[in-house]
């Protein structure tokens, strides 16, 4: 392998640069690097969230002989060949946040348990709808692995746990503010009885909350989903949203680098059933697809958003 006498180089490849969630993850990654010592984190990603862009980046990382690549993938399948090539050249590859198909990585770190996220996003809406009613999902891009998995999980729990909640539509805003805005408007227009919009994406949730605010629907339509506290605080404050949830992106970035370092240096081994330490965050256990899940999503509402918006 490309182990060398100098520092361990770990690349944190994100879906796109200039996205608040990933910038927060980078913070955690840098923390981990400092803690581990002798680790250099390369924070990189394409400008537009495309698989092709990430492939070019992985190619240049391979050429740089990095020790490990930790990637949040724009496409679970398209990146597999190039990541396989990286592994062939002795580079440790893990995915985090948005996964890669098992053959393209050694392990995957889910920010949280998929089923749990699915349930949480519905619960966030249901908690404020005692009578039940229509809700709709505004997702990111139609190819986003993680969102699709959460939505699947959410649909599964609906009939048993939330019988009064009626999911009327699932639309895609492509993590683009304009598209998300149009889609949110479309949902509101075509479903007059809509009670909540669930956006399990930090871009979509802001767009939806802005639409609700602009159309004076505060109190009528509740926006919820996954949001960065710092970006979303004002919508909790103005009442467009009662509560949202998210895991801690800083911890996520920290964990990704910690795990990648462990596997790259041989301290840890990625195999089903293995328990891997992630330093100050704790430890995770790999399932039979070599995936692990971190903490359950954390909920933000009026009581705590102020505090967290200062952190991430």
């Amino acid at each position: 392998g490309p182990a060398n006498a100098e520092s361990t180089k770990i690349a944190l490849v994100v879906k796109s640069l200039g996205n608040g969630f990933f910038d927060a993850a980078n913070k955690g990654a840098q923390e981990a690097a400092k803690e581990l010592g002798d680790v250099e984190v390369i924070y990189t990603g394409p400008t537009a969230a495309t698989a092709e862009g990430q492939i070019e980046i992985v190619n240049s990382l391979i050429a740089q002989n990095v020790n490990a690549i930790a990637i949040s993938a724009n496409d679970p399948d398209a990146l597999v060949p190039v990541l396989k090539k990286a592994m062939d050249r002795g580079i440790t590859v893990i995915s985090w946040d948005s996964g890669v198909a098992p053959e393209g990585r050694q392990m995957h770190l889910n920010p949280s348990d998929t089923d749990l996220i699915g349930e949480t996003i519905i619960k966030l809406a249901a908690d404020y709808l005692p009578e039940g009613g229509d809700v709709a999902i505004l997702s990111a891009s139609s190819t986003a692995t993680n969102q699709n998995a959460w939505i699947e999980a959410a649909k599964k729990v609906l009939p048993e746990k939330f019988p009064k909640i009626n999911l009327v539509a699932t639309v895609y805003g492509d993590d683009d503010s304009v598209k998300s805005t149009n889609e949110a408007k479309g949902l509101i227009a075509s479903h007059p009885d809509l009670k909540a919009i669930i956006a399990p994406t930090t871009v979509g949730v802001v767009a939806a909350a802005q639409v609700v605010t602009d159309q004076n629907l505060i109190g009528k339509v509740n926006v919820t989903g996954l949001a960065l506290p710092s970006e979303f605080k004002q919508f909790i404050d103005n009442g467009a949203s009662q509560a949202v949830a998210l895991w801690n992106p800083i911890d996520l970035g920290y964990s990704a680098v910690y795990l990648a370092h462990g596997i790259a240096t041989g301290k840890a081994k990625a195999e089903p059933g293995a328990r891997l330490s992630i330093g100050k965050v704790g430890e995770v256990t790999l399932d039979d697809t070599n995936s692990a899940a971190m903490a359950p999503p954390f909920q933000f509402d009026k009581s705590n958003i102020e505090e967290f918006s200062k952190i991430y």
Binding site: L17, G18, D23, G186, S190, V206, A207, Q234
Partner: protein, 325 residues
């Protein structure tokens, strides 16, 4: 063909009416005045941009850099606002227009003074401006909590029952109408596109007219930079990525001839509205959003074919009798 049938704007109005009617069949509330006003408001930015693009296309040029200019200017004004929240919004708007115009002038100078084809210049500045957006913001983004309330609120305010954003569009339409039809500058932009060599004989500096058109499109893109970031309350590198082709498509649907010299303010506005209605209506009538792209592609092709038919050059008609027949 009667004069009526030849009038492109009327055709477009008919097409739009048909489109609205079809949508209304599936979703009756669509044709309600409030909803139509909302569609207009949603399309405001595209309309303003299409007007700027029209000025450039009329001179036989093209501005591929508008969307990038919008992103860069939007980022700069958002940063200005974030760092100096005290600056009044009218000044911010002036700043946006000035920066946009300066970027447009950069394109225009290269076209005018060096004679580089507009498509090459703006293909280059398309990536340069967007890259600069990333650089000026240091790779970060500006979101709602960093923008001042006034920055966000202005276009959402109402005036005479319409959102201020719609008024921006209305003022832009009126201004463009006056400039393009009633000022020597506007007419010289047309003249240059219709026949550049004849324009020289008429005392018009062709390069300068192109330069002015680029300044106009830049200024408009800059203004829309402010409108965009305050509308979607986010200024980021990716803002309006790829939007340049929507702007051109709006012009083309509106009957602006890519060969220059032909096009009207009404046409460009209607072309933008047509696209705006498609993009706002599809989610509403439960047509899969995956159909949207194919539908607008078909609309563009249909518009081009129709326009070409009405534009077809007639023979010179030497035979007197044939003329009468």
């Amino acid at each position: 063909m009667s004069a009526l049938a030849k009038n492109r704007e009327l055709w477009l109005v008919a097409a739009i009416a048909l489109l609205v009617a079809v949508i209304t069949l599936r979703f009756p509330a669509f044709a309600r005045p409030q909803n139509l006003a909302a569609v207009f408001n949603d399309t405001s930015i595209l309309m303003i941009l299409a007007l700027g693009q029209m000025a450039v296309i009329l001179t036989r040029s093209i501005d591929l850099s508008m969307a990038s200019n919008l992103a860069l200017t939007g980022m700069i004004v958002a940063l200005t606002n974030a760092n100096f929240p005290g600056i009044p919004i009218p000044l911010i708007i002036l700043e946006a227009m000035a920066i946009g115009a300066a970027l447009g002038a950069f394109n225009g100078m290269l076209v005018w003074k060096l004679g580089i084809p507009a498509i090459v210049v703006t293909l280059g500045t398309l990536t340069i401006f967007r890259g600069a957006t990333f650089v000026v913001a240091g790779g970060t983004w500006v979101n709602a909590d960093r923008m001042s309330p006034a920055f966000i609120a202005l276009q959402r305010g109402e005036f005479l029952g319409l959102p201020v954003l719609s008024w921006f569009a209305i003022v832009a339409i009126i201004a463009f109408y006056l400039v393009m039809t009633r000022t020597p500058v506007g007419r010289s932009i047309y003249a240059v596109g219709v026949n550049p060599s004849a324009a020289v004989y008429a005392g018009i500096d062709v390069g300068r007219a192109k330069f002015i058109a680029f300044c106009i499109s830049g200024m408009v893109a800059g203004l829309c930079g402010y409108l965009w970031v305050s509308r979607y309350v986010i200024a980021a590198t990716e803002v309006a990525n790829g939007y340049e082709l929507n702007i051109i498509a709006a012009c083309v649907i509106g009957g602006v001839s890519i060969a220059g010299g032909i096009g009207s303010v009404g046409g460009a506005v209607l072309g933008a509205l047509f696209l705006g209605i498609i993009s706002t209506a599809l989610p509403v009538i439960n047509i899969s959003p995956f159909w949207q792209m194919a539908i607008s592609g078909t609309a563009i092709l249909a518009a081009v074919i129709l326009n070409a038919r009405s534009e077809r050059k007639q023979g010179r008609i030497i035979l007197k009798k044939a003329e009468a027949a």
